[in-house]
Each structure stands twice: as C-alpha cells, then as structure tokens.
C-alpha cells in the first residue's frame, strides 16, 4: 500500500479507538453542588478553552446555580462564600478560576441572563500552556 495512505489509515484507526476525554473535575463540581444545594438549575461550564491552557483542561469554570436557600441568603458575598466552601477542595487543587452566578428562584424567574466571561489576558504563568 502507498505509505501515505497507510499512515492515514493508521492515524484514523488510532483516532477512532482513542477514548473520549473525561472531565472528572467538572463531574465533581456538579455532584457537590447538587448534593449541597439541591439546585433547581445548575450549569457547570468548563471555560478553560477560553484560556491559555492545554486542550481538555479543567482549570477555569463558571457555575450558574439557582437554589431555594438563596431566597434567604441574599447578599452576593454570602452566596459566593457558600459556593466557594462547597468547592473548597477543587479550588485548592485543580481549579484556578471560578466565576459564580448564584440566584434565588424568584430572581431567576425575573432574569436568566448570564453575563459573558472576560477574555483571557495571557494568564499569570502558573498553569501549563497550550
């Protein structure tokens, strides 16, 4: 067989057999927030691709969480502290940036707008690069 063709087939086979990337940090964040807050709405967005880190990284996240308990915990600072506390292990470990949108169900009913995250400015050099 033509060596170029053979190489193409080889690459194609390898690509097909390679495993789908797993996202354990994303899964852990999802699980912990679900368990602790029983949210009526939860988005865990891995925004690492917007930053200067390798493909399939799990370093930069945004969570959108709507929970009943935020009807009583009104101050944004307290809501953020609650979420940071639940995710303390992740924040001390792999998670480098966490943007939090925490709303009560009544606030969410009024507006479910989620602001866009800012663009990367290069980073601080503490993480592996693309």
């Amino acid at each position: 067989m033509n060596p170029v063709l053979r190489r193409t087939f080889h690459l194609a086979r390898r690509t097909m057999s390679s495993t789908v990337p797993s996202f354990p940090v994303t899964a852990a964040i999802q699980q912990k927030l679900t368990d602790a807050l029983q949210p009526i709405h939860l988005d865990v967005l891995n925004e690492s691709h917007m930053h200067n880190v390798p493909k399939n990284s799990e370093t930069h996240f945004k969570v959108v969480v709507v929970a009943e308990e935020f009807e009583t915990t009104k101050a944004p600072l307290q809501r953020h502290r609650r979420v940071n506390g639940i995710l303390a292990e992740e924040l001390e470990g792999p998670v480098h940036a966490l943007s939090i949108i925490a709303k009560s169900p009544s606030q969410w009913a009024k507006s479910n707008a989620v602001p866009a995250s800012p663009s990367c400015k290069g980073g601080d050099g503490s993480l592996p690069k693309k």
Binding site: P76, L98, I101, P118, C120, G123, D124
Partner: protein, 163 residues
C-alpha cells in the same frame, strides 16, 4: 521596615490619568514599559529591584495595613495599565468607569501576598476589592454592583469621607 515594603508594593491609580487625555496616559506608562524591556536584555544588576515580602505573618500584617490605609484597595494580577488576567482587567475597568482613585498590588510580584490575601479574606481567587477596610468581593460581585449602581453608592461615601 514593614511600612517601606508596603509602599513599594503599592501602586496608586488616579483615574484622571486614564480619562483626561490619552497622551497623559501614554506619557505616564511608556517609561515603565521601556525599563522592563531594557532590563530583560541587560545585566541583572540593572533589573528592577523588588522588596521581598517574607513569610505569611509579614504578608498578613502588610495586607491589614494596606486595607486600613487605602480607602479603595485592589489585589489583582498585573497592574491597572496591563492586567494579566481578564477578571482583574474587568474590575479595573469598573473602577475606572466609577471615576475613583484606587490603590493596587500586583500579586504576581508578591507570592506571599497572593497566598496571604486569600487567607485574609477567606476568598480563594484574585482579584479582591476592599473599600474602607471591608472586603467587597471578586470580579462577579464587583460587576454586579457596578451595573446595579451599588458600587457607585458605596464609592460615593468613600469620596466624601476622603474630603
């Protein structure tokens, strides 16, 4: 000793420099850039000298002093003219839009302050904003307060108390 280190770490950003004229901004910031490029290619003796903040206790004391003596104090990555992180950049933009003068520390230059301020505020990420010694929040909260007008109200009181 401590106070001299604190002054070295601190940077004052006068919003007037940013809003009044582009030329002023350039004049103000170009020299620093030039020094940086120059120093990278030259002997280490000519590199900018930075005081070393040693140890957690020194860092905590310094942070306490910063937030008590600076009405609007921002811990960020990079400096206001060249933020190194989108979240820090967003907070600088919000403060500039409020037209307020603020002090800042580039935590990338001071690893002990970077870790210290996380403990001090019990807050895991940078940027962090203090107003009148009180922790206000990070990027999400500042943006939210800027849009709702709460930040303007908060800073109005600061401006008054400074007069």
């Amino acid at each position: 000793m401590l106070s001299s280190i604190a002054t070295t770490a601190l940077r004052r950003t006068t919003t007037a420099t940013f809003t009044s004229a582009v030329a002023t901004t350039r004049q103000h910031f170009r020299p620093a850039l030039a020094i940086r490029f120059f120093s990278e290619d030259s002997h280490g003796d000519f590199a900018p000298q930075r005081k070393v903040v040693e140890g957690e206790d020194a860092a905590m004391k310094m942070i306490q002093e910063h937030v008590e003596s600076n009405p609007v104090m921002l811990y960020m990555k990079g400096n206001p003219s060249m933020p190194m992180c989108g979240f820090s950049a967003t907070v600088v933009q919000a403060l500039k839009a409020e037209g307020i003068d603020f002090s800042s520390v580039n935590v990338l230059d001071y690893p002990d302050i970077r870790e210290g301020v996380k403990k001090f505020s019990e807050w895991p990420t940078i940027p962090q904003l203090y107003v009148d010694g009180e922790f206000i929040g990070g990027c999400d909260i500042i943006v939210q307060m800027h849009e709702s007008g709460e930040l303007a109200d908060l800073l109005k009181d600061v401006a008054k108390s400074e007069e």
